[in-house]
Symmetry: C3
Subunit: 335 residues, 3 copies
């Protein structure tokens, strides 16, 4: 495996194999599989779960990792091409990325969306610029529009819980948040659930439609897997017979990168906080999913988050297991 | 071992076994004992020795660790229950702690006293709230009123140096410091020395008495071990025939959490700096102990700290060995 | 090996052995060589390559490391002797260094020049004060006037590329930079190339002469190896038939530690940016070397840095391999 960048790069059987491997590694540890192997971890955006779960994953497989973050250890990295570096940044990504990559057998990179242009972010211009410099197998630890490690963990979580793929109803719901957040998780999630063969509904207020290219990609995946993808702002209809509600806030796509416009649109939407009444028409065992971190009382009520529907800790633990499977395949633990 | 939280949870023979194991691991390394095992390290308060010694301990046993600190990698953690999270904190400990714990086989947690209420701190309300969320074996890396890893290391240090348990005279002395410091180390230390069977004197100026419940706990330990615990402000009497003086500054308990009151009381006490004249009535080989970090020329004179009485580096190194023993027992290296 | 502090402490054959070992470890990994061994890493100055490459090196050899940096985890370290510590620093290096060292089998220390006095920096007063406290084998990760890990990596890079030792022409050129930078790399580099037996020219504008003691040391090495060392400000002459140009900015030695004086001298020297025309008289295959980080368009043009002459990534990767060889010999992987 040369890259783990997008679930769309894999066949469904490949994903099934990764999940099977993740489960096996959970029950039958392989602390010699990657001995002496090194994972470089480059965080251009902050992290808790990703930081912790990748380090833990490498230790469990007998290898190790190191972390580079501009805030932690260096005075910022210049990213602009063709620049005369007479400002504060002392190093350019054109040196930093290949050097950091050269110390590892693979590299994980995290870089959130720049949010200057929706087109540039949809094209993953920044992330591609970074991975092209790496010259090593790489893992997308969250880019502008993708988060494949989260999606693999979420897929495994639904498998673990017996949530049906074919015929399973998956609601991806926008939720309120005081700030405009990236589109990476919703974009990855709608595709993941569609690729799993589920009937996916994107529930969101007007102005928060997911970009067309994201929806088209999910619909292609659904066509291949026997699932479906629809979009609505009708909460009642969306939640009808749902197996899962996956909540996430994201920025307005109408006012992408425009803080004032986004805030104006967001105003008055603080009732988009997932609470018990949302589940009235859902299946009794409808689950609540979220990638974390989550703001209690804002994105979801305490009752739901602490109640039996919530599987957020299960999802988070699966991050480590899913990544162990990816690393195992990528770094030669698997033949 | 499900928790290493308080020496009082263990019998004296258990402590002896841990110290024996620590010594054995020092002389006969076991770099395969914990292969593939992960220790999660959560620092809600800063650290040098603890941070370094736990990481080193895991490597020496063939495993590894990862560190999460709110300053390093995340934008603060919310701790208040029932809060609507519309402020700056993006994550609540109710998710962060179980997730971090889920990546490890055990978790170490450090959280200093909040210093808002002496009762709450004596009850370890904050620390208990954290460990209850962990759902994994845990290690207290310093809480409001305890520091069992330091105490185990100090006990081992006295064993190493042949300082008698029964009949050994141990002086825990308050020392001057410009700031009000936590009660964790003095509280743990008075109990440790009493449990070891020593005759313990707490030497402190008025207003700096240790809380009754701490003294009562130490007296119970002394009753079981054949030791004793007394309290005084008479330096001459306290130091008479002492085997050890353990210096530590701590906040006033009369003005707990009240900075102005504490400072007023502290004023004029800067002669509580342990210096060679203090040792006049002590045994010739009386040792100087301190948990570090220590302010030279404030808490203790340079002559004493750099002289032959001082065993502070020995204590600090024993932190690593003591923790290796705890981890070895907790994570299955020991049968 | 008790210390890796200065290439001058080693015979040429010792360096050859280290480079051979580095190459062997690159092709034949030894993930069991240092199992359970710990390297303490103390950074009193910031780092990217050094931080990453030492951590990766220890993992590749089966051991591990921990990092202590005053910015990351502690409130600064006091370094002044005889001080009454009533300010902000809570710990003195007299405790911190031996404690940190005691957790490892060896310690790496980085401390840039203080730049208060050229004499003190040339005498390595600060760095010696630190290593004397360590009481463990130590590695110089860059001191006021040395950077032996960089030099070993650079030597290996020239061997890898077939750049001749005897008869090879090596130009160490000053380059423009907005700030006054340390003398560590140029001092180590001129000595390294001379010790390798090359004909070394130091090319620099007036006022940026390297200190006499540094030049004398390099000339002694050249005398023993059959090389030579000269100094000039004539770019054309210096570059004639050069095999290598190694660019680096450094502070004025005439105005050492005097920011205003240095800046005045530096003004108008921004044409000291290595660009393609510099290579006119050089050998066609003349290489461009730099220790990184490097400011694009300031120290070197983009065309040169991204072109075929540049071997900066190769040098940086060799940091890890060179350090693996040093660690292997120091920590007992080699017999």
């Amino acid at each position: 495996m040369k890259a783990f960048n997008d679930l769309a790069d894999f066949a469904r059987e490949d994903i099934a194999s990764l999940i099977e491997l993740a489960t096996r590694l959970d029950h039958s540890p392989e602390p010699e599989a990657l001995r002496g192997k090194v994972l470089s971890l480059l965080f251009l955006s902050p992290s808790l779960r990703t930081l912790a779960s990748f380090q833990a994953a490498m230790v469990r497989l007998g290898g190790g990792s190191f972390v580079i973050s501009p805030d932690m250890s260096i005075h910022g990295l210049e990213t602009r091409p063709g620049i005369v570096m007479d400002g504060t940044a002392a190093e350019h990504i054109r040196e930093a990325v290949p050097v950091i990559a050269s110390y590892g057998d693979a590299i994980g990179i995290r870089a959130f969306a720049e949010r200057r242009s929706l087109e540039a972010d949809l094209a993953e211009t920044e992330f591609s610029a970074l991975t092209k410099l790496a010259n090593k197998p790489y893992i997308n630890m969250e880019s502008a529009m993708n988060h494949p490690c989260q999606s693999l963990a979420d897929w495994k979580t639904m498998d673990d819980l017996g949530i049906p793929a074919s015929g399973g109803k998956f609601v991806l719901s926008w939720a309120y948040h005081p700030k405009a957040l990236p589109l990476a998780v919703p974009s990855a999630t709608v595709h993941m659930a569609a690729m799993r063969g589920m009937d996916v509904t994107v529930l969101r207020p007007e102005g928060f439609e997911l970009p067309d290219s994201i929806m088209d990609k999910a619909r292609s995946a659904a066509a291949a897997s026997g699932g479906s993808v629809t979009e609505t702002d009708d909460r009642q209809a969306a939640m009808q017979d749902a197996h899962v509600i996956y909540a996430k806030s994201w920025s307005s796509t109408k006012h992408y990168g425009d803080r004032a416009g986004d805030e104006a649109l967001r105003r008055g939407l603080d009732n988009w906080c997932v609470d018990e009444p949302w589940f009235e028409a859902a299946r009794d065992d409808c689950r609540f999913m979220h990638c974390l971190p989550v703001r209690r009382g804002v994105v979801v009520s305490e009752a739901v988050l602490d109640g039996p529907r919530s599987v957020v800790i299960h999802e988070a633990r699966n991050r480590m297991l899913a990544q162990m499977a990816v690393l195992h395949q990528m770094l030669g633990g698997s033949k």
